[in-house]
């Protein structure tokens, strides 16, 4: 296999990158996954069953964590650029930064969940609570998986199992990471901003 095909990943007979095609198919599928959860949430946004509702949302706080996640997309782009330059050290730094920002976002989510629970919004109190926690929880799980992927990539790179020119991995994880980010853009707009 030539270096050229390595940089761009294995290509099929029609010139398309095989693994990226698969990744996009997966992300297309994920749209429906989150779409269904968001549809559930929209349906239940008023079903508070006498419990607390959207008034608990702390928009400034969530805005900050949204911004953190948005910035992690930027660091992901920088990591990807470093890979294209075959600069392993830079790549690891930016991957770590991305993972860190993702962790900060998760921390924010944990804080938010704890606060809501303390204030009486639980997932077993109303369909609104169920839909909110399960939707944002599944998004959080996606972020967590992304963080694990980023971290393992750093580890593999350190151990020499991930060379800079084999950047298809970085690109694939990047696609996944950006996708998780745009899902949050939708959730932040639809679940938080539009409901206040």
């Amino acid at each position: 296999m030539s270096t050229e095909t390595a940089v761009h990943g294995p290509v099929g007979t029609d010139g398309a990158d095989i693994r990226k095609t698969a990744m996009w198919a997966f992300l297309g599928s994920e749209c429906l996954f989150f779409g269904s959860f968001i549809a559930t949430f929209l349906l239940y946004s008023d079903e508070t069953n006498g419990g607390p509702g959207t008034e608990l949302f702390d928009i400034p706080f969530t805005s900050v964590s949204s911004f953190v996640l948005l910035m992690s997309s930027l660091t992901m782009v920088l990591a990807h650029n470093a890979y294209e330059r075959e600069d392993g050290r830079q790549m690891r730094i930016w991957l770590m930064a991305t993972a860190l920002l993702g962790t900060v976002f998760l921390g924010g989510q944990v804080f938010e969940f704890t606060t809501f629970y303390a204030e009486g919004l639980r997932m077993d109190i109303s369909p609104f609570g169920s839909a909110f926690f399960v939707l944002t929880g599944f998004h959080g799980a996606h972020v967590a998986i992304g963080v694990i992927m980023l971290t393992s990539m750093v580890i593999m790179s350190r151990r020499g199992n991930l060379h800079a020119h084999r950047g298809m991995n970085v690109e694939l994880v990047g696609l996944y990471w950006h996708f998780v980010d745009i899902v949050w853009i939708v959730i932040f707009t639809v679940v938080y901003l539009l409901q206040v």
Binding site: W24, C31, L32, A39, S73, M76, H178, V190, L193
Partner: protein, 84 residues
């Protein structure tokens, strides 16, 4: 550059959400519009979809379109627009 742009858009969004007494429809349209803008920027540039081939574009587009239709049909059915 793009990151800066995204940051500004987010700031505008939050500002809009806090404008007191803003017309509800205007708010909805504005926020959804800005959301779509951010969405397209990330997908198009960060994820390079703008530069990928048609197959990948369409794979993702179908998912997106179907997810959006899902919103509308399910919500329309439940909200009584279709139920009359």
């Amino acid at each position: 550059m793009i990151a800066l742009f995204l940051g500004i858009v987010t700031a505008v969004e939050i500002a809009i959400a806090y404008i007191p007494d803003l017309n509800r429809t205007l708010l909805t349209v504005g926020l959804i519009g800005l959301g779509i803008l951010k969405f397209s920027v990330v997908v198009g540039w960060f994820m390079h979809l703008r530069f990928e081939n048609k197959t990948m574009n369409r794979l993702f587009a179908i998912g997106l379109v179907l997810a959006l239709s899902l919103f509308f049909v399910v919500l329309a059915t439940f909200s009584g627009i279709l139920a009359s």
